[in-house]
């Protein structure tokens, strides 16, 4: 008889999983929104990442973000496909920039700044993978301004949404 395998999970794990599930829900929701250009997406799931970052710290945000990328790729069926690596590189770059952004003055720079910086890092990471691996052609430079404008717009909007959430009184998880 096989010994039963029991994973010890803490309440923190459960909490992170709930947050990642919320982010995942937003990812699925967003996949239904038609996009004029592949790659231009609102990135609503990042609202969750920003809130987790502000409330529970960078480690929790990294867990939620990467879990969302993993689970999302399984859900959408592109695990280890190019789309997965694009998501992953974007998420990793965003997290690195978010880690650095914690050193900015909290009084001056809020969630909106973090959101915009992360959005730009996201697109930079993705374009790096696209250029170095998928389409090594200088022609993709033509798309950069469009992606940058999208990053600015959606980064700002997501940041405002996250800031609104954070300014409302915390609800118990």
């Amino acid at each position: 008889m096989m010994p039963s395998l029991k994973l010890e999970t803490s309440s923190e794990d459960h909490h992170l999983a709930r947050m990642a599930a919320a982010a995942l829900g937003l990812s699925v929701l967003e996949a239904a929104i038609p996009s004029p250009l592949p790659g231009v997406k609102p990135g609503l799931a990042n609202i969750v990442t920003l809130i987790v970052l502000a409330r529970y710290g960078w480690r929790a945000a990294a867990w939620v973000s990467l879990l969302r990328v993993m689970a999302g790729s399984l859900l959408f069926g592109n695990f280890l496909a190019p789309g997965f690596f694009l998501s992953l590189s974007g998420a990793v770059c965003s997290l690195l920039v978010l880690a650095a952004s914690r050193h900015l003055s909290q009084r001056l720079f809020g969630t909106i700044s973090q959101s915009i910086l992360a959005a730009f890092a996201h697109i930079a990471g993705q374009m790096a993978v696209v250029y170095l691996w998928l389409i090594p052609h200088a022609g993709i430079a033509w798309l950069l301004p469009i992606f940058a404008a999208a990053a600015l717009l959606f980064g700002t909007v997501n940041g405002i949404i996250a800031a609104r959430f954070l300014s409302s009184p915390a609800t118990p998880p």
Binding site: L108, G110, F120, L144, P145, A151, A163
Partner: protein, 122 residues
């Protein structure tokens, strides 16, 4: 809604906008030109580098056209064509710019490293 935006956030937005505009100016221009292609009668007569400064005399059916390269710009300095359109066009600066002297069948086009498609021909 606006009270959630901190002073630095405006700064970040401004910086993001600046980066976007900068990318537009870099990525959406023909790019820096590095040579001038001189055509006569539809055939490439000579390709000139944009530096050093130089001058080229190109024979056409009406006479000689003079092409001048100065300070990484090119122009047709003189031309025997009656209406002088190509001369009055002045200096060509960016890749993709072209001056054509139809009567004398001569043209000067600036080209960069990557040649852009000509929307008139494609």
């Amino acid at each position: 809604m606006l009270n959630a935006i901190r002073p630095g956030d405006w700064l970040t937005m401004l910086a993001g906008g600046a980066v976007t505009v900068w990318l537009m100016s870099v990525c959406w221009n023909g790019g820096a030109a590095d040579r001038a292609i001189v055509r006569s009668g539809g055939k490439v007569f000579r390709e000139l580098p944009l530096s050093p400064d130089s001058q080229l005399h190109v024979p056409g059916p009406l006479g000689i056209s003079v092409i001048t390269i100065h300070d990484r710009q090119a122009r047709i300095e003189s031309d025997p064509s009656p209406r002088q359109y190509c001369v009055r066009q002045g200096w060509l600066k960016q890749a993709g710019e072209i001056a054509i002297c139809l009567p004398n069948e001569i043209s000067v086009e600036l080209a960069g490293r990557t040649k852009n498609y000509d929307s008139l021909n494609y």
